[in-house]
């Protein structure tokens, strides 16, 4: 897709990316963050869906089945996700290089979403020592989430 200029960049995020650092978790799909060459389009993912359709990968709902995984392509939607994509690691998946959002960005994206399962993801990343409170706070502060991080710590890390 990059070579065809359908996307400018990609990185795996969400639960499938989290599993790089933590134990396996149950998830039904894989989330892939993408930057597209023409982000001003209203239907930013249309070229991507067309590209997949030309190769016989028809969408099922919002996801495109790739191998065993329904894949949701999500365009960068904030300065935080743009930074996460730009600074993603290139990981080795069984010998295949693959771009993956870094653990500190995964934690702060989860913080920004703020559901119970997102908080559980942050705790899993902390327990696995993939992130530390110190590594998270800088990213959170840079993206206007310092107060949300303080509240998270008060609620889950400093609770007595």
């Amino acid at each position: 897709m990059r070579e065809a200029e359908v996307i400018a960049e990609y990185a795996l995020f969400g639960a499938a990316a989290q599993m790089r650092y933590t134990e396996a978790v149950a998830t039904f799909d894989a989330d892939v963050l993408v930057a597209v060459p023409s982000p001003q389009r209203l239907d930013v993912l249309r070229p991507l869906y067309d590209f997949c359709a030309q190769r016989g990968w028809q969408p099922e709902g919002e996801a495109i089945p790739v191998g065993a995984w329904p894949v949701q392509f999500i365009p960068v939607f904030s300065p935080l996700t743009r930074e996460a994509l730009a600074l993603a690691d290139t990981a080795d998946f069984d010998g295949v290089p693959f771009r993956v959002v870094r653990a500190d960005h995964l934690a702060v994206i989860a913080l920004s979403v703020g559901r119970a399962k997102d908080f559980a993801r942050i705790l899993a990343l902390l327990e696995a020592k993939a992130v530390t409170p110190e590594s998270v706070v800088g990213v959170a502060a840079r993206h206007g989430l310092a107060e949300a991080w303080t509240q998270f710590q008060r609620r889950f890390l400093h609770a007595s």
């Binding site: 897709m1 990059r2 070579e3 065809a4 359908v6 996307i7 990609y10 795996l12 639960a15 499938a16 599993m19 790089r20 650092y21 933590t22 134990e23 396996a24 978790v25 149950a26 998830t27 039904f28 894989a30 892939v32 997949c52 990968w57 790739v66 191998g67 065993a68 995984w69 894949v71 990981a91 998946f93 069984d94 010998g95 295949v96 290089p97 693959f98 771009r99 993956v100 327990e127 696995a128």
Partner: protein, 75 residues
């Protein structure tokens, strides 16, 4: 808490932490098995990964991020 129970919980915690140290591709395949099991419990249609969960067919190289990587590269 009774000492035996405490030891049991500690052993469980150690086992869970050890699972986090497995290779990423192994954990992705474990997630595929969990998903297939959840789907079968929900009564949804079986998929190839359900067969994998039963041990009939090992997960293939088409599973997981290696397939995604090829897609992203346009392969």
């Amino acid at each position: 808490m009774p000492p035996d129970l405490q030891k049991l919980f500690e052993a469980q915690a150690r086992w869970q932490r050890a699972r986090a140290l497995l290779p990423w591709h192994e954990k992705i395949r474990m997630a595929e098995l969990m998903r297939a099991t959840a789907r079968s419990l929900r009564g949804e249609s079986a998929s190839p990964t359900v067969e994998s969960a039963r041990g009939a067919t090992p997960p293939t190289a088409e599973s997981g991020p290696d397939a995604l990587a090829r897609t992203a590269r346009g392969g």
